[in-house]
Amino acid sequence: MVQLVYFAWVREMVGTDAETLALPAHVTTVAELLDWLATRSDGHAAALADRSRIRVAVDQQFAGADTAISGAREIAIFPPVTGG
């Protein structure tokens, strides 16, 4: 089980700030996670439609599309940060 957390308009479009999910075995990277999440609801699909506007952190570390997620406890998905 992994905790997914969402921020800003990703959170609003997905419709929740967090969800705990069991990932399918074939979902092993950030890119595969986003592909799989996009199939879960229209909200997920809309939020994740433009991957250039999506950033991901795995266990509080910024991650790329190829970052492995096996063993991750918390994966955050959010827009590019707009700073202070």
Binding site: A8, A57, A76, T82, G83, G84
Partner: protein, 148 residues
């Protein structure tokens, strides 16, 4: 040592600077930068969303990087989160050093990086009742890139 803090409540610029300088007679310069919410074009409120598990850690990483670049600089970097109104202070960076050049440079560096790399998302509320999430700005990336 530059300490990062994250809080919803307002900060006290004089108290923060006094705490940094307390008991020191080797510091010749203190720079206090305050970022304020501007009422541009009818903005009525700004909300900063953050990632509790990550935002402060990222801020401290930026502060540690600044302290490593300017070893003689001491400082405090405070960022607020939550809903803020025009005119309210949103960020404070106080730096102190023996000479003014380093204090100015470290404060500018911290601000350039906080503006781009700190995990905050801003939501703007407008006088016409609409609201929108702010997009990341190219000019802020350019300001941060000059330190690379």
């Amino acid at each position: 040592m530059i300490a990062a803090r994250l809080q919803a409540q307002a900060f006290d610029i004089a108290a923060e600077q006094a705490a940094l300088l307390a008991g020191r007679t080797d510091l010749g310069a203190a720079v206090a930068f305050t970022g304020l919410v501007r009422a541009d074009d009818g903005l009525v409120a700004l909300t900063l969303e953050h990632y509790p598990a990550m935002t402060l850690a990222q801020m401290q990483a930026i502060a540690d990087e600044a302290a490593a670049r300017w070893p003689g600089v001491f400082g405090t970097a405070i960022h607020r989160h939550g809903r803020l109104l025009p005119g309210e202070a949103i960020v404070l960076v106080v730096t102190a050093s023996s000479h003014r050049g380093d204090a100015f440079a470290a404060a500018q560096y911290l601000m350039d990086w906080l503006k781009t790399h700190a995990p905050f998302w801003k939501r703007e509320e407008w006088a016409d009742g609409t609201a929108r999430w702010v997009e990341a700005k190219v000019e802020d990336d350019a300001a941060a890139a000059r330190w690379d």
